[in-house]
């Protein structure tokens, strides 16, 4: 794994996510461990999406710069609406809302920062934040739209 050296400390402080793991829902065929995904999340994602995945305040409305803030990843957000393929693409290539007033990728691209396995791993961690029903819905959305490069 790359980037381990830069590991920040925040993730050590809290690790509540395991408790949200629902064992009655299919997460992914991927073998990566959610705990590793959680570490990646705390290191690379929590600064914007919140240490508990709670998102930024007023995330549904554009901020003063005319940009949509980082949304939550839990049940109140809409991360669970996206297939594995789509989630992978957004984390890998980044994303910005087309109505943003700026041109920059507000959701940064992580393809040069994380390995494909790490991207899958952090997405699998996000799945632990959803309700079992949302996990099921997302698993169905991912039929025919799974992670690319499953083998890596």
């Amino acid at each position: 794994m790359r980037n381990r050296g830069v590991l920040v400390t925040t993730w050590l402080l809290l690790s509540t996510a395991g408790q949200a793991m629902a064992d009655d829902a299919p997460l992914s065929h991927d073998a990566s461990q959610p705990i590793e995904g959680e570490q990646i999340y705390q290191q690379h994602c929590a600064s914007c999406h919140g240490i508990d995945g709670e998102g930024m305040p007023n995330w549904q409305r554009p901020n003063a710069m005319g940009e949509l803030p980082a949304p939550p990843h839990g049940p109140e957000g809409h991360t669970w609406k996206h297939s594995d393929a789509m989630l992978y693409r957004m984390v890998s290539e980044g994303w910005r809302d087309p109505w943003n007033e700026t041109e920059r990728l507000t959701m940064p691209a992580f393809e040069d920062v994380l390995t494909p396995a790490e991207i899958r791993s952090v997405i699998n961690y996000l799945k632990t934040l959803w309700t079992p029903e949302q996990q099921r819905h997302q698993a169905e959305e991912s039929e025919g739209a799974s992670f690319p490069m499953q083998s890596e």
Binding site: P71, H78, D97, P98, W99
Partner: protein, 287 residues
């Protein structure tokens, strides 16, 4: 002719075939008027109109209309018609009828709503390009999507909390998935990418009732909205609306033909046409 109009449905839709919607609306709105609906069918190069629970087509820009038979189940109430990308194929939807399809331009109809939890379909749209993808809003429930022309349906979203009278799929760029859906409610037009990852309000409209929305086939960022206070236009998919200063009567249904010709229906189903982006309108007499 029964003058039963309801404020629920009209038409428009955009696959290259045609969708028709019958709308009865939710219980709260059931007592209100049933509105006519209008849709341009690209595949058939024709206008489709629903008025007083009857369906008509016109291939000469509204100069004359021919009736298309509807399923027997249709009596009164709101209807939406949607063209499908195949020739002769039409969908009709509405609270009294659910969703039905015809492959022979109305000679026969069959149900394609067995997979829906209810027939109380208050809004309906076909995907702009994907022939088999349909969207149906069930009253007090949510938006269901079919990817196999109605054989099976899956709930995708609960939809905006406001009652929706009109759903319109668009292929405007910028979506995470394949396009966008406009949802028209009394108070506003809302927009979501077709991944259903969040409804956003479109720009402010100074109006009490919003009736219908339509966009240009070749330039989907250009969107028109019909309200009780006139017509509005947007050049950015609805992010901001500009009021059109023109002589349009109060239009409750609008649709666009290629080359930007705008058609509208007033409350009693009379057709008007504008060739200058909604400023000047001409009545087209009912032949």
């Amino acid at each position: 002719m029964k003058k039963m109009m309801s404020r629920f449905w009209h038409t428009l839709s955009i696959t290259s075939g045609a969708i028709i919607g019958l709308g009865i609306a939710s219980v709260a709105a059931a007592a209100e008027d049933v509105l006519p609906a209008l849709e341009y069918d690209l595949t058939g190069a024709r206008l489709l109109k629903v008025n007083s629970s009857q369906l008509f087509e016109s291939t000469n820009g509204g100069d004359s209309w021919q009736a298309i038979p509807l399923p027997e189940a249709v009596r009164t109430g709101q209807l939406v018609v949607a063209p499908a990308a195949a020739e002769q194929t039409l969908y009709i939807a509405g609270p009294s009828i659910g969703v039905q399809r015809s492959d022979d331009n109305g000679d026969s109809w069959y149900r394609v709503d067995e997979g829906l939890p209810s027939r109380n379909v208050i809004a309906f749209s076909a995907h702009r390009h994907q022939v088999e993808t349909l969207y149906a809003k069930i009253a007090d429930d949510g938006i269901y999507q079919s990817d196999d022309a109605g054989e099976s349906w899956r709930k995708k979203d609960s939809g905006p909390v406001q009652p929706v009278r009109r759903l319109v799929h668009s292929d405007m760029e910028g979506s995470m998935q394949t396009g966008w859906l406009y949802a028209v409610s009394d108070d506003a037009v809302r927009l979501s990418m077709d991944c259903f990852c969040g409804w956003r309000p479109t720009g402010e409209l100074d109006a009490d009732t919003v009736y219908d929305v339509a966009y240009e086939f070749d330039e989907p960022e250009r969107v028109y909205v019909a309200t009780d206070r006139g017509l509005w236009v947007s050049d950015n998919g609805g992010k901001a609306w500009l009021r059109i200063e023109g002589d349009a009567p109060e239009l409750v249904a609008i649709t666009l033909a290629p080359e930007g010709t705008l058609y509208g229906l007033d409350r009693v189903g009379e057709l008007v046409r504008s060739n200058d982006q909604g400023r000047n309108w001409r009545a087209i007499p009912d032949a």
